[in-house]
């Protein structure tokens, strides 16, 4: 399994664990404004990130020389996804309890990073989705 895939999958597993731990805190009502973070750690940090990692590994080869397309793009996608999600996890609860310009603009940046992560993944994988 390539390093990029292992990195995606292991980070996904960490998001999964964090999400379920956050689920306990939400159930115990000791946190405020964390519900969207909980959902997105699950659907984006865990499911989507796991899919990205496995797809880069298992989809039909891009070419014999470059089986996984442009791997640098894959690393960019990884970095953007996780930095975007991390910024969201920090700024969104602050913004929903004590809104301020710093947390506000952090959310804007986080939104752009996460969108770009998806865009790069699709750009790099599109051609690999084809009939053999």
């Amino acid at each position: 399994m390539p390093l990029l895939t292992r990195t995606f999958i292991k980070t996904a597993m960490i998001c999964f664990t964090l999400a379920l731990m956050l689920g306990i805190l939400l159930a115990a009502r000791v946190t405020n404004g964390f519900f969207p973070v909980y959902i997105h750690l699950l659907v984006f940090g865990w499911l989507t990130q796991l899919i990205f990692g496995v797809a880069l590994w298992m989809f039909p080869k891009y070419s014999n020389e470059k089986p996984r397309g442009y791997e640098t793009l894959g690393w960019w996608s990884y970095t953007l996804l996780n930095s975007g999600l991390l910024l969201r996890a920090i700024a969104e609860p602050i913004q929903s309890t004590q809104p301020n310009p710093l947390s506000g603009w952090t959310l804007v940046i986080s939104a752009i990073l996460q969108f770009l992560a998806g865009l790069l993944f699709v750009f790099n994988t599109w051609q690999r989705v084809r009939e053999k």
Binding site: F59, L107, V108, A111, Q114, F115, G118, T125, V129, E131
Partner: protein, 133 residues
């Protein structure tokens, strides 16, 4: 990858991009208010990403990966699963019309259920032990 899986997976990529785009707009709006009605995109964000991306990708990959038949059509009744693909995507796009026609949500959801039933019927016999032809 069979042609139908290519369609499922590429359609799921398009839904991923649209759904992420809507989510990004809403998240940015939560940060710095620029156009509050952008929240109208919220149901589309959820529908496109849960059904259009996650579920559709799983269907496409399942159609590709689960066991094939050695006799007859290797992927079973492919026509049914093509209909499932059409119903699923028509259903998702119909739910997007709920912004203008509230009934579109239920009509789209019914189409999605038809897609699920067709997919299940079309794949049922492929979920089989090794050695069954």
């Amino acid at each position: 990858m069979p042609r139908l899986s290519v369609w499922f997976v590429r359609a799921s990529f398009i839904h991923l991009l649209l759904g992420l785009f809507f989510g990004a707009l809403i998240l940015a709006q939560k940060g710095i208010s620029f156009y509050p009605p952008i929240w109208n995109l919220f149901p589309l964000h959820v529908e496109f990403l849960l059904t259009g991306w996650l579920i559709q990708l799983a269907m496409g990959v399942a159609f590709w990966i689960i066991p094939r038949f050695s006799n007859g059509s290797p992927h079973g009744p492919v026509g049914l699963v093509w209909f499932s693909f059409a119903f699923l995507n028509a259903g998702i796009l119909t739910t997007a019309l709920q912004l203008w026609f509230p009934h579109a949500l239920i009509i789209g959801r019914i189409a999605e259920v038809c897609a699920a039933i067709l997919f299940v019927i079309g794949s049922w016999r492929r979920v089989k032990p090794q050695g069954v032809l």
